[in-house]
Symmetry: C2
Subunit: 167 residues, 2 copies
C-alpha cells in the first residue's frame, strides 16, 4: 500500500469511528547509573539516555533535553512527509535543525525565577524540491498546525504525576 493509500484509508476509518483514533504510547525509564537511564518503549524499541561528563554522567548517549529537541525535529520532518503526501506536494530533500537555549540556573535551583526548561527554541527547515515557494509555504502552514510534538512544546499538556515509594 502506498503512503497516500494508507493515509486515506486511516482517515476514512477514524472519521467514521473516533474510538479508533485513540492511541496510547508508553515508555518505562530505569535509572541504572549516576545519570544513565535505560528506556524501554511499549512498541519494543530500546535506547539509552545519559548526561555528559561535565554534568556528572558517563556520556553514553544524548541527554533528555537533546531527545526532546530531536522529538520535535523528527516530528516536523515526518509531518512534512505526511502532509506533503496528502497535499500532493513533492519534496526531494528535507533536514530540520533545532536549537534550544537553556539557562541551567533553573535546573540547579540557583534562581527560581529562571524556568528549568528551554527559554527559546529555533527550528530551521531546509527543503528542496520543484514546487514554488508559495506552495511550500502552504505546506509549512499545514505542518505547523498538525505536528504533534510542536503542539507539546507550544501548548500546555496536562501531566498527572504520581509517586509510589517502597522501603
Amino acid at each position: 500500500m502506498s503512503l497516500i493509500e494508507l493515509i486515506d484509508a486511516t482517515k476514512a476509518v477514524i472519521a467514521e469511528d473516533a474510538s479508533k483514533a485513540q492511541a496510547l504510547f508508553q515508555v518505562a525509564n530505569e535509572l541504572i547509573g549516576t545519570a544513565k537511564v535505560e528506556v524501554r518503549v511499549g512498541s519494543g524499541h530500546r535506547f539509552t539516555v545519559d548526561e555528559p561528563e561535565s554534568l556528572g554522567g558517563g556520556n553514553a548517549a544524548a541527554n533528555p533535553v537533546e531527545y526532546a529537541l530531536a522529538a520535535l525535529g523528527s516530528c516536523q520532518a515526518i509531518t512534512y512527509r505526511y502532509w506533503a503526501t496528502q497535499l500532493g506536494i513533492r519534496i526531494d530533500k528535507l533536514t530540520v535543525e533545532v536549537d534550544g537555549d537553556l539557562d541551567v540556573r533553573g535546573f540547579f535551583g540557583v534562581d527560581d525565577g529562571v524556568r528549568p526548561g528551554f527559554g527559546a527554541v529555533r527550528v530551521r527547515v531546509r527543503l528542496s524540491g520543484p514546487e514554488t515557494a508559495a506552495r511550500y509555504g502552504e505546506l509549512a502552514h499545514a505542518v505547523d498546525a498538525h505536528c504533534p510534538v510542536l503542539d507539546v512544546f507550544q501548548n500546555p499538556v496536562p501531566v498527572q504525576l504520581e509517586l509510589v515509594t517502597t522501603t
Copy 2:
C-alpha cells in the same frame, strides 16, 4: 569528583556569573526514508527515529512522540538523582513509567478541534529506599519544580519556525 562536589562547584560558578549558565543544545534531523529520520546531536551522539508499519514507516526505531515521552521520563529520573543528592536523600532504585494519550484525528487533520499532541500524560515514579514517605514527597516536590522536560510539557515554549527552500 563526586556528584555532590560537581553540583556544588557548578552552582557556585553559575551563581557568580549567569553567562556561564547559558547552554545551547542542537540537533539536526534528516529525512532519509518514508518516515525514517537520522538524528545527529551537537554533542556527537546519533540515533534513528521511525514510524511503525501501521503508520507507513519501517519500524526501525521509536517514533517522535515516544521519544518525547522518554525525554520526559528520563529527565524525571535524572532530576530525582541530582536533587536527591543535593538534599541528602538516598534512593536505592528508581523507575519512571510514562503514558501518553494521543487522538490521531489531530495529526491527520480529520478534526481540527482535536489537538495534534497529547491530550493527557501520566507519570508514575516508582522509588525504593530507606527514607520516610514524607521525605520522598519533599524530593518529588523539588524535582517537579526543577525538571527541564516537565517544564516543556507543562508550559508554553517560544518556538521560532523558519523555512528555507531551494529548487
